[in-house]
Symmetry: C2
Subunit: 332 residues, 2 copies
């Protein structure tokens, strides 16, 4: 490997050189055919492939002033791993389409690869990046596709299976990432509203944890297959806000979800609107021993006028984030 300066940019280097640096950091993928051919070949547990794709775009989804390469790589993995987990499946491999400005440094790309690998090792051991694509773009864009496998004989857990009388449960944080985003917006922008680097020394421990939750969420991926094995009737990952996503699950199942505010304290308002923690929201038959770390936050009722209620009161407002309506092109 040539000894390249980490400040070298992708515009100075050939694709082969950049790719070699990335592959070095990703480590070998335990797959039938890995990177280097036209496509990868994965050996799954059975003939069902679970597939999802989610993209992080500079501007609406992250700001380089706030996110470093490692956090960004880890987050782009985590958000996709959570979608696989939410089907009750085990993540097998990630495919990463990376579009980068020519001015992107090699060091940043290397950190991104390291973050992708760290998230896999930490959240979904056995899952690795098994392929991808490098292109030049004016906008840094990380499009990840995750492939998962179901337990042979097991069924995917859909959004549509919640039944009246089930308990509503959640695994992972809700509202922490939203609190972190509020801190970033309120305290780490300049007079013109542009993001500036985070100075962690001015934050309390709780604030630091919230910022970390926003920049590098750690959803409980392994809880997905545990929920399926325990008999979860419906499941989804909370990416756009708890109320907003609960509405989707309720609508798909033809029920109403009644959430209990006390279970979402100390900051129930943020918990109800926050989503980017990628917690797993699931329903289980009453009396099911819940797999860790699920905790009960409500019950499933007959479909009413409101698809989501909080302590019996209809949950109002948009309750989440719509990247098309809410993004203002600058502050996002």
């Amino acid at each position: 490997m040539p000894d390249l300066h980490p400040a070298a940019t992708v515009g100075d280097l050939s694709e082969d050189v950049i790719l070699a640096r990335i592959l070095e950091r990703l480590g070998p993928a335990d797959v039938a055919v890995g990177p280097g051919d036209d496509a990868a070949v994965l050996d799954l547990a059975d003939a069902r492939a679970v597939v999802t794709t989610d993209t992080l775009v500079h501007g609406p989804d992250f700001r380089l002033a706030w996110s470093n390469g490692r956090d960004l790589g880890a987050k782009s993995a985590a958000v996709n791993l959570a979608d696989i987990a939410a089907m009750g499946a085990r993540p097998v491999a990630l495919f990463v389409a990376l579009a980068m400005p020519p001015s992107t440094t090699l060091a940043f790309v290397e950190d991104l690869a390291t973050g992708l690998r760290e998230a896999c090792d930490e959240l979904a051991p056995g899952c690795r990046v098994a392929g991808g694509d490098l292109t030049i773009s004016e906008t840094l864009t990380i499009a990840v596709t995750a492939i998962g496998e179901l337990t042979p004989g097991g069924r995917p857990v859909l959004r549509s299976g919640a039944r009246v009388g089930d308990v509503v449960a959640i695994a992972g944080d809700v509202g922490v990432a939203a609190a972190g985003l509020d801190i970033l917006f309120e305290r780490f922008r300049d007079a013109a509203g542009e993001p500036v680097a985070v100075d962690a020394s001015v934050l309390t421990d709780a604030e630091r944890a919230a910022v970390a939750g926003q920049l590098r969420p750690r959803p409980p991926i392994a809880a997905g297959t545990r929920a399926a094995a325990a008999g979860a009737t419906a499941m989804m990952d909370v990416s756009d806000g708890l109320v907003r996503d609960a509405r989707r699950l309720a609508r798909a199942s033809g029920v109403t979800l009644d959430l209990e505010r006390a279970s979402l304290e100390p900051d129930s308002e943020r918990a109800l609107r926050g989503g980017e923690d990628h917690a797993l929201l699931a329903t289980f038959p009453a009396q099911t021993p819940l797999p860790r770390p699920f905790r009960i936050i409500g019950v499933v009722r007959d479909a009413g006028e409101a698809t989501v209620t909080v302590d019996g009161v209809p949950a109002d407002g948009p309750g989440g984030w719509d990247p098309y309506r809410d993004w203002d092109g600058a502050a996002g």
Copy 2:
């Protein structure tokens, strides 16, 4: 469905509305679980999933002055279908991560969806878009991941299996897309070098076909599984240039590929450097009856100093396209 003006932009609309319009045009996907849950579930022919991802970015990969939404949708499908075919596999489903400026019109997005579906119907019947992701970005970016299946009991065709004495064969056009790009660059740019709309009325039939080959390639996807069944020893899709990609196959197999110039006329120079047609380059044991539309363009020889020769003479020069080194940020 609300009656929206096709000039409405994605910045004006909610994700749900845009998604509904896209799904309408994609038609139902014949999969176990389709769009609308956290992930899709695909039933494959066996427990092996063939996976590839390839991205088209506005600027380096296409220009909206030259490409319309339908052609762009079709091309973004075709380039990924070709990678699946090059493994000897059958494409099962596409996943599309679409990042769009807020000013993108709904009509354009609808056309893109139509193009994706048309390419699947035409090139890989049975394959459909089964999931995706919509985000806002300053740069129009279409990241597609394709999933394919192998014939049960069949082996993927890798780049590394070419043996001395095999014939080298190709299925599909080579050099046509490159000729089309030259026409676009030479004849459809303004004084400042910026792309302007193509006026097909000033082109000959051959020129029109070349431009169509660049803007909407039609690689022979079904030839991939036919090649595998016929015993192809190695295969890849020609995306970066025939000489450049042949070098990769030769290196992976530890051989030299000797191409015959006469088989690449009438424009052998463009055929040798052109790649974006996504033809399938394969090697077969001598005397193998070649599946259509493969034709012989050379032979596999013992590894020599040059990994690719043309009529025995080493092929010089870069012989292709490296998006990192060659892209100038404006004219590409």
